[in-house]
């Protein structure tokens, strides 16, 4: 029971990341009809927003100490972050909270990146074949990751959670299990709650605002909305920006779980596409449900008891489930009729 509960929790935080990336992917596909293979790169860029914010906050005053020499004979450098020099303990606290602080920066940055990506490249491929879209966005993803690698190197960059959120929470007690049996990292639970809030916010935005209503109408029948005199293109550009924000926030908040490196977007991209397909192309609820479902199933498949019976199942479970679901429901769990069928 304890082991099962732990794997469900693992699935929820992993599923949260899958769901957030897949949500953006399916919004872009549903509105613009674009298969965006650069979406994983947006997740990675969000993570590097967090890295950049920490790097800026960590800018140091360097004082050379002529009395101490390095192993290669140059004076030793005494480094102190400027925020600590200027603000003392408060500066140290800001540095400690660099990941949550980075969210505030990531929102405008990712919006701009999303809009620039859509206006600068993607819009020229709206009427092209999906294969062309895949090629150009995949190429863009590689360019972006090489730029990040050139700037930040290839090694993972540690990005700790704030000290107050870096401990463990005894989740077992909350559900009536003996103390100490189901303890879970606090930041991972925070990530799950965060992903649920972002997903809820996106749904509320699309459901309860006029902008969202127009976008949903455009997803259903773009031509008719255009005939009503509404500039649907401009709104769809903003939708692309919103999808970039969602992916970016998912990446920024994930950095204490997975030390970011230039390749992390690609690692999530393929899985997220499977999530979208399983959920149903263009279905928002499908993407979210499939994200959590596949995250949990992937965690269960990694249990030793399961692997003893089916060796290697942890590495193929997601694709196996995708095959089964597509055989039973060719449009995915909640796919809409007519999407990607002509």
């Amino acid at each position: 029971m304890d082991a099962i509960l732990l794997q469900i929790l693992n699935g929820l935080d992993k599923g949260g990341a899958y769901a957030l990336i897949a949500l953006g992917l399916t919004i872009i596909f549903g509105t613009l009809g674009v298969v965006n293979f650069a979406h994983g790169a947006l997740f990675m860029l969000g993570a590097f927003c967090a890295v950049s914010v920490k790097a800026v906050l960590s800018l140091e005053r360097v004082v050379e100490d002529p009395n101490q020499l390095t192993a290669w004979g140059t004076p030793m450098e005494i480094r102190t972050p400027f925020v600590e020099v200027w603000f003392g303990d408060f500066g140290a606290t800001i540095l400690d909270y660099s990941v949550p602080v980075s969210i505030l920066i990531a929102i405008p940055v990712m919006l701009l990146i999303g809009i620039a990506m859509e206006r600068g490249l993607v819009r020229f491929f709206y009427k092209r074949a999906h294969a062309d879209q895949i090629l150009v966005t995949f190429g863009l993803a590689i360019v972006l990751q090489e730029i990040v690698k050139a700037q930040f190197g290839a090694n993972p960059i540690p990005q700790p959670a704030p000290e107050a959120a870096s401990g463990m929470i005894d989740f077992g007690i909350m559900v009536g299990i003996d103390a100490g049996n189901v303890v879970y990292p606090a930041w991972r639970l925070i990530y799950f709650v965060f992903s649920a809030v972002v997903i809820g916010a996106v749904f509320a935005f699309l459901q309860f605002t006029t902008f969202g209503m127009v976008v949903r109408a455009g997803m259903a029948d773009r031509e008719t909305v255009g005939l009503l005199g509404i500039d649907i293109d401009r709104r769809f550009t903003i939708v692309f920006g919103i999808a970039a924000i969602v992916a970016g926030l998912a990446g920024a908040m994930y950095t204490p779980i997975l030390s970011p490196d230039y390749h992390m977007g690609m690692d999530f991209l393929v899985l997220s596409f499977v999530v979208v397909v399983v959920g149903g192309m263009g279905s928002l609820t499908g993407a979210v449900s499939a994200g959590f479902l596949l995250g949990i199933l992937q965690s269960f498949a990694s249990m030793n008891e399961v692997k003893d019976i089916l060796p290697g199942i942890d590495q193929i479970i997601i694709y196996l489930i995708a095959v089964v679901i597509l055989l039973v429901r060719p449009r995915g769990l909640m796919g809409r009729k007519g999407v990607m069928e002509h």
Binding site: A3, W72, T74, S299, D314
Partner: protein
């Protein structure tokens, strides 16, 4: 009275005998040895091929390898401060190149993929005329490139490769390894683990699912079980898994009190970070403090794990804080040129370039069989690892092994590991036939 007759057979026999007699004095000179081998340098330069990961997950380690090679070439050609050539026990190299030829180099990108690494090595051999290939940051790549060099007929001086197989079941006559291996890591780590954690422990292994991971897991299990430790489970994890939480949570209630992470690079950074996040370092099991072990440490990778490495034991081939004359000379030379200390990958690559050049100089040739003969059984000192021998039977270097621990109070971002024990060479030596494989004959390629 004997009759002197000339016939065709007699003439041929006499000519062959006379020819052999006349050639005998020159058989042992460089000009005779230098005849007939692949990429024999004809002009005033000789080309080395540096095959390192310039893209992909190990690109930073590859960049450090390349820095070290460039430094080695400078020193061999008589530029810079000479680095470890000043402390190297062999004085054959005079700072004027090798065998009178200036060393130049070409580079290839292994991408840490066997097929890409073989393609770049092949290109350097066939198009650029490289006389020797060296470098790399993966055992899978090293074994693949070593096979290619054997078939092509050039020497391969392995870079960072830690699997037993490189100089075990997959060893080749044309291949030489300076770096240590998993067998040595196990032998060096076990006594330190016993001293710190006792002999009544239950270990849980998470192992990268490829040749190096299997090799590392086997060696650590062998030596820790000999101490009296039990193995609760050994779980294989896919390479590049990213999130290891689903593999770490079963450890929590498994009854194990030690987690051995047979991971390297990005996997090591992620699995260690996540194991610490799950509270394993602060946990108590079976009335003992839970322990994490990382059998192969790399300072570059340890930097990626940040504070999570504190107090965690592992092994390493070399560390920049060593205080022998060779290490100090290398750190000074490298630090002055690049502004930071070299990694163990840089050290092993620099050493390999120097050892190869020295062997060519002593042999008076670049012919693989001649160079190999000069390296086989070669005993040397002054390259940072103490007295070392290139064992003839398997082309593996035998030297002291370092056991290190994540430093509690680092003084800089480079100061993440501290050497806790220098395990003597005798303690990590093993019979040459233990790991299987056959060297086979040298291939000179012509």
């Amino acid at each position: 009275m004997s009759k002197f007759e000339i016939n065709r057979r007699g003439l041929l026999k006499s000519t062959a005998a006379a020819g052999a007699g006349l050639a005998l004095p020159t058989m042992f000179t460089s000009s005779a040895w230098s005849a007939g081998y692949l990429n024999e340098p004809k002009g005033s330069t000789v080309t080395f091929g540096f095959n390192v990961p310039q893209t992909g997950a190990y690109a930073d380690e590859g960049a450090d390898e390349l820095r070290a090679y460039e430094l080695a070439v400078e020193h061999i050609n008589g530029e810079g401060d000479g680095g470890m050539l000043n402390t190297f026990s062999s004085k054959a190299l005079q700072g004027n190149g090798v065998n009178g030829k200036k060393v130049v180099f070409v580079t290839g990108d292994t991408q840490t993929k066997s097929d890409a690494a073989r393609a770049s090595a092949k290109r350097m051999i066939e198009k650029d005329g490289a006389i020797m290939i060296t470098g790399g940051s993966s055992s899978g790549v090293a074994i693949a490139v070593q096979g290619l060099c054997q078939d092509a007929g050039v020497i391969f001086m392995a870079g960072l490769t830690h699997s037993n197989d490189t100089t075990g079941k997959d060893k080749r006559a044309n291949g030489f390894r300076h770096f240590f291996n998993t067998e040595m890591s196990g032998a060096a780590l076990a006594p330190v683990l016993k001293n710190n954690y006792g002999s009544d422990r239950v270990a849980y292994h998470l192992t990268a699912d490829y040749t190096w991971g299997w090799s590392q897991e086997g060696s650590i299990k062998k030596y820790t079980e000999a101490l009296g430790w039990k193995t609760a489970a050994a779980v294989r994890t896919p390479l590049g898994a990213g999130d290891f939480s689903q593999y770490i949570t079963p450890v929590l209630n498994s009854g194990a009190d030690v987690l051995v992470l047979n991971h390297y690079g990005r996997d090591m950074v992620n699995s260690l970070t996540q194991a610490v996040q799950f509270g394993l370092r602060d946990k108590q099991v079976n009335g003992k403090d839970f322990a994490i072990v990382v059998p192969l440490y790399s300072r570059l990778m340890a930097q990626g794990a940040g504070e999570n490495v504190k107090g965690i034991f592992g092994s390493t081939n070399w560390h920049w804080s060593l205080q022998d004359e060779g290490s100090k000379a290398f750190v000074k030379s490298f630090g002055q040129k690049y502004g930071f200390p070299p990694s163990q990958a840089a050290h092993t690559c620099y050493s390999q370039a120097i050892l190869y050049a020295d062997a060519c100089q002593r042999a008076g040739t670049f012919m693989p069989s001649g160079v190999g003969a000069a390296l086989e059984g070669f005993e040397f000192d002054g390259l940072g690892n103490g007295p070392t021998e290139y064992r003839a039977a398997d082309h593996q270097c035998f030297k002291d092994v370092l056991v290190v621990k994540g430093k509690e109070n680092p003084s800089s971002k480079f100061d993440v590991l501290e050497v806790v024990e220098v395990t003597p060479r005798a303690q990590v030596e093993y019979p040459a036939d233990m790991l299987g494989g056959e060297l086979g004959p040298y291939n000179n390629g012509a």
